[in-house]
Amino acid sequence: MTADVSALVELKGVSKRFVKSLDLAAKIGNRFGAGMKEEVVHAVDNVNLVVAPGEVVGLVGESGCGKSTLGRMTVGLLPLSSGERFWQGESLAGQDAGTARRQQLKMQMIFQDPYASLNPRMRVLDIVGEAPVAHGIIRGTQQVEYVGLMLNRVGLDPTLMRRYPHQFSGGQRARIGIARALAVKPQFLVCDESVAALDVSIQAQVLNLFMELKGALNLTYLFISHDLGVVKYISDRVVVMYLGRVVESAPSAELFAQPNHPYTQALLAEAGKVTPAKRTFVPIKGEIPSPLDPPSGCHFHPRCPHAMTKCREAVPPLIEIAPGQMSACFLNTP
C-alpha cells in the first residue's frame, strides 16, 4: 500500500479481531453435529486514520467502540489483524529489530489509570530514567540530572524523584507518566483517557500541560476520550467510532456545530453542558450492542431514529460530505 507522505501517522484498512477458537472438547462436539462456532470480536473493523504533524486528533466513542484498541495498535502495543501502519509515508511492517525499536520510541502512550500505570516498586527516578539510559539516549551518570529536567518540565518538584508512586496524588502520578513518555523524546503521543480518572480541577492543569508541551516540543497527539467537552476543547479534528467502525470524522468546530451522523447527534445531545438550566433528559433508546454479536449492516440501525431497510442490509461507506468532513450514513446518499 502507498501512503500519504505528508501525514505523520497513518493507518490503512486496520482491523483487529479477537478470536476465541474452539478447544478440543468443542471440536469433538462438532464432529457429533453440535455446531459450535468460533467466537470472533471485531474490535476494530477496517479503519483508516490520518494524523498530520502538529495536529491533535480526538477519538471519541463509548465502551466497546474500539478506540482503546485502535490507540494501542497505533502505538505498537497490539499487533494488527490486517491493514498497515505508516510513519511519514513509510510502512512499519517487517522492520528489523533495531529499526523497530527506534521507531517505537517515537510513538509513546499516556495511560488512563494513574495508579496502575506506574510500577509500584520503582522509584520515580527509575520509572522516568530507565528507558533513556537503556536505549543510550543518556549515560547512566546523567540520569539524575535528566530526570530532574523531565520532572521540572511537567511541573513536579525534582527533589521528589527518590519517592515511590504511592506517595503521590493522582494528578502528580499522571504527570510522572507524562514525564516517562517524554523522556524518550517522542514525536507522537497517544493519550488513552489520560484525564478521565482526574478531578475536574486537576484535569484542567493536566490539559494545560498537554497544550504547553505540544507547543514547546512540537508534539502530535491522538487524544482518546469519552468526554466530549474535553475533546471539543483540545482537538483540531475529531473522529467518532461506534462498535469498531468510524462513523464520522470532521474538524472539531464543524463536528460540534453540525454533526452529520445520527450517532454523533445523539452523543452530542447527551454531552451535557454546565448551564444553569434544568432540562429534561431525552434518552436514546436501546442498549449498546455486544461486540460479539453486532447488528447487521450499519451497527447503529437498531437505535437510530432514522433507520431504513437499507441500513439493516448493507454497511454504509465512509464518504466525504464536505471538505474534510466524512460520515458513514445512508442518509447522505439518497
Partner: protein
C-alpha cells in the same frame, strides 16, 4: 422548581452539624466536618465535590454505613422527625432499605453475583414488609417496569452477570425504590456508565422522583449532571460545605471562589486554544489541615482574615449561603 425560601415542602431530612472522623494510625481524618443541610419532600439535592471532599462519606454517614476506624462524632440526622443517631442498631437496620435507601457507583455493591434478581428483590421487600412472596414478586416486577426494563419476567429469572452495566444500575435503582423510601441517596451512580446510558438513567430517575415524590440526594463530581437534575446544590470542599443554594443561582452566580474555579475549569466553559482557567495547587491532605479556611492556599482572594474558619452565612440569591470571607456575591446582613 422548588423554592426553598417559602416552606412549601416540609423537610424530609434535616442534617445539622454532622461530623464524621476517622481515627487512623497516622492521625485523625476529619472526613465530614460540620455539614448541615435540609432536603424537602420530593426535592433533588445535588452534593457536589471532588475526591476527598467528603461527599461520599456524608452519604455513608446518613445511611449509618461508617465502619471503624471511622465514626460519627457529632451532629444530628433527622429523617421525617426520627433522630437517626439515637436509634439502636436494630432500629437503624429497619430504616435502611425501608425509609432511606442508597444507590452506589458500582451496582455490584448492591447486587449479589450468585443470587438471581428475583431472589434478591423479594428478599429486600420481605425484610421490611409483612407480605406474601407473591405480593413481593409482583412489587419487584412492577419496580423493574418502572425503571424501564423490558421483559421484566425474563429479567427476574436472570443473574446479575447477564446484564450490562446500565441494566445492573437500573436494577439497583429498582431495589432502592421497592419499599417506597422517603429518601434515596445516590452516590455517583452514573459515573462509570457511558454517556448515552447515563442519559437514559437520568431520564428514568427524573421521571420517578416526580411520580413518587421521593426525595433524592445526588452525590457527584460532575457539574453537568447536577445542572440538569438538581433543584438545590451543596458544594463541598475538604469535608465542609462551602456553598449552598438553588442550582440555578449557584451555577449562574457562584458565591464561593472554589465553585467559581470549578466552573471555570470545565473545558466546555473555555475557549478552544485558550489556556484553561485552572485552580492552582492540590486538594489538601485531610490529615493535618491548617486552621482557617481549607481553600486558603489555592484562593486568589485569600488574606489574613482567612486564617480563621469562616461560618456559613446568607449571600446572593434567596436560600443561598456561603462559607467565605470574600464571597463573590453580596452578603445579606
Amino acid at each position: 422548581m422548588i423554592d426553598s425560601d417559602e416552606a412549601l415542602t416540609e423537610p424530609v431530612l434535616e442534617v445539622d452539624g454532622l461530623r464524621t472522623h476517622f481515627f487512623t494510625k497516622a492521625g485523625v481524618v476529619k472526613a465530614v466536618d460540620d455539614v448541615s443541610f435540609t432536603v424537602g419532600r420530593g426535592e433533588v439535592l445535588g452534593l457536589v465535590g471532588e475526591s476527598g471532599s467528603g461527599k461520599s462519606m456524608t452519604g455513608y454517614s446518613l445511611m449509618g454505613l461508617i465502619d471503624p476506624p471511622g465514626r460519627i462524632v457529632d451532629g444530628s440526622i433527622i429523617l421525617d422527625g426520627i433522630a437517626l443517631r439515637t436509634l439502636t442498631p436494630e432500629q437503624q437496620r429497619h430504616m435502611r432499605g425501608n425509609r432511606i435507601a442508597m444507590i452506589f457507583q458500582d451496582p455490584m455493591m448492591t447486587l449479589n453475583p450468585v443470587l438471581r434478581i428475583d431472589v434478591q428483590m423479594i428478599e429486600a421487600v420481605l425484610a421490611h414488609k409483612h407480605v406474601t412472596r407473591e405480593v413481593a414478586r409482583a412489587r419487584a416486577r412492577e419496580a423493574l417496569v418502572k425503571v424501564g426494563i423490558a421483559s421484566p419476567d425474563e429479567r427476574l429469572q436472570a443473574y446479575p452477570h447477564q446484564f450490562s452495566g446500565g441494566m445492573r444500575q437500573r436494577v439497583a435503582i429498582a431495589i432502592a425504590l421497592l419499599n417506597r423510601p422517603d429518601l434515596i441517596i445516590a452516590d455517583e451512580p452514573t459515573t462509570a456508565l457511558d454517556v448515552t446510558i447515563q442519559g437514559q438513567i437520568l431520564y428514568e430517575i427524573q421521571k420517578l422522583t416526580r411520580e413518587t415524590g421521593t426525595a433524592l440526594i445526588w452525590i457527584t463530581h460532575d457539574l453537568s449532571v447536577v445542572a440538569g437534575l438538581a433543584d438545590r446544590v451543596c458544594v463541598m470542599y475538604a469535608g465542609r460545605i462551602v456553598e449552598q443554594g438553588s442550582c440555578e443561582e449557584v451555577l449562574a452566580h457562584p458565591a464561593h471562589p472554589y465553585t467559581q474555579g470549578l466552573l471555570d475549569s470545565v473545558p466546555a466553559n473555555n475557549e478552544r486554544g485558550q489556556r484553561l482557567k485552572q485552580i492552582p495547587g492540590m486538594t489538601p491532605s485531610l490529615l493535618d489541615l491548617p486552621p482557617g479556611c481549607p481553600f486558603r492556599e489555592r484562593c486568589s482572594y485569600a488574606d489574613a482574615e482567612c486564617e480563621v474558619s469562616p461560618e456559613m452565612r446568607p449571600a446572593g440569591g434567596p436560600g443561598q449561603s456561603v462559607r467565605c470571607f470574600h464571597p463573590l456575591v453580596p452578603v445579606h446582613s
